[in-house]
């Protein structure tokens, strides 16, 4: 039970930690902490985590009802909605990011940007938190395997949070240009991932027609391997994606990469940065 708990908790925490680290790196890039929004910045993180946990708790408590709805594919529909909303706000976030580094240019979009980040983090916590609650709540209530699950959860959470923290320091430790490029790229990959997940879930619910597998890289990098799981959690790696999933992934990726901020990231930085 120890290892299962590690794997499940790690996967979930890693996905949420990645998004949070990414946003915090963006916030730092935007120099928002120099603005008068220092308080608000701390608050949006805390608030979205709290709301996310509350939502996750509500989700877990209505789990059976949601699961039974839509002819027993309610979970897929709900999760697909959550993924597509996250995807939408990630795209909105990318397009709202100002193409200049000037603070005053940002301030009027600050609320909208903060809202986007808050919603995405909240939904990430909702998605990942509800699964952890299912595992921990469902199994602990039966009085089985308490310590192994507890230890496993702690180890999984510890590894996930550590990777998140180190990722944040890695992103912010890079030069401004590289940091921005990496952040934009990660944002694009995350968006693509969300879009592909939405398609997969709708496929699983049979709401979308079957499309053949695009390729099979299972021999190259197995999804069950440690590296494969890490890649799955970070960029949504699938060994055998369907054509429609690949299409959705590419669409999400491209829409983010078309945004003004990413054009700035790959422009030659004509002395715009101070």
């Amino acid at each position: 039970m120890f290892l299962n708990a590690v794997v499940i908790v790690l996967q979930e925490i890693l996905e949420a930690a990645l998004i949070l680290s990414l946003f915090l790196a963006f916030v730092r890039y935007l120099n928002l902490e120099n603005n008068d929004s220092v308080l608000r910045r701390r608050i949006w993180v805390t608030l979205s985590i709290i709301f996310g946990i509350l939502l996750a708790w509500t989700y877990s408590h209505n789990f059976s009802r949601i699961s039974d709805s839509f002819d027993y594919v309610g979970l897929e529909i709900t999760n697909a909605s959550i993924h597509s909303i996250s995807c939408f706000f990630l795209v909105l976030f990318a397009w709202l990011l100002p193409p200049q580094q000037l603070i005053f240019d940002v301030s009027h979009r600050l609320l909208a940007l903060t809202l986007c980040m808050g919603i995405v983090v909240m939904l990430a916590i909702l998605r990942e938190g509800s699964e952890i609650m299912q595992l921990v709540g469902g199994i602990l209530n039966q009085g089985q395997a308490g310590p192994p699950i507890f230890y496993g959860g702690v180890v999984g959470a510890g590894i996930g949070v550590s990777i998140g923290v180190l990722l944040y320091y890695a992103l912010t430790g890079l030069s401004k240009e590289r940091s921005l490029r990496t952040c934009v790229l990660l944002l694009a990959l995350t968006t693509g991932n969300m879009a592909a997940q939405t398609i997969l879930l709708l496929n699983q619910a049979d709401w979308l027609p079957f499309t053949p597998t695009a390729w099979d890289t299972g021999g190259l990098l197995s999804e069950s391997s440690v590296l494969g799981q890490l890649a799955y959690a970070l960029i949504g790696y699938e060994a055998t994606p369907s054509i429609m999933q690949v299409g959705a992934y590419t669409l999400g990726l491209v829409i983010v990469l078309l945004s003004p901020i990413s054009r700035l990231a790959w422009s030659t930085w004509h002395g715009k940065a101070s």
């Binding site: 794997v7 789990f63 039974d68 597509s84 299912q134 049979d206 709401w207 027609p209 369907s242 669409l251």
Partner: protein, 123 residues
Amino acid sequence: MSEPAATTKLRNTGIILSVIILLVAVSFIAQLARAETLEIELRIRDHLFFPDTLVIPANQKVRIRIFNEDPTPEEFESFELNREKIIAGNSQTVIFIGPLKEGEYFFFGEFFPKTAQGVVIVE
């Protein structure tokens, strides 16, 4: 500077919207085709799958109806099938798989992977 950005944004919102509309339309068509789907049952008891081998025909969509008879939740997971779904204790659910090519597709219960294991054999 802001005006072309705004029009591009508008255009992209348009793309997203049309994709969503397309998805919804396609899903309705898919709903109509659902009746022909083959259905098989899978039970979870004492963290074991019964049967632990599901034999299905190739190139056919299959609805797996899973009954979890344990009080604990279980997560049906398969890397080969790209499927992942939590089933609450003492409840049932549905997962669609396929159409698939011939081969063996392993699945397991992510919450109790030591015992809950099975395979889908496509012939």
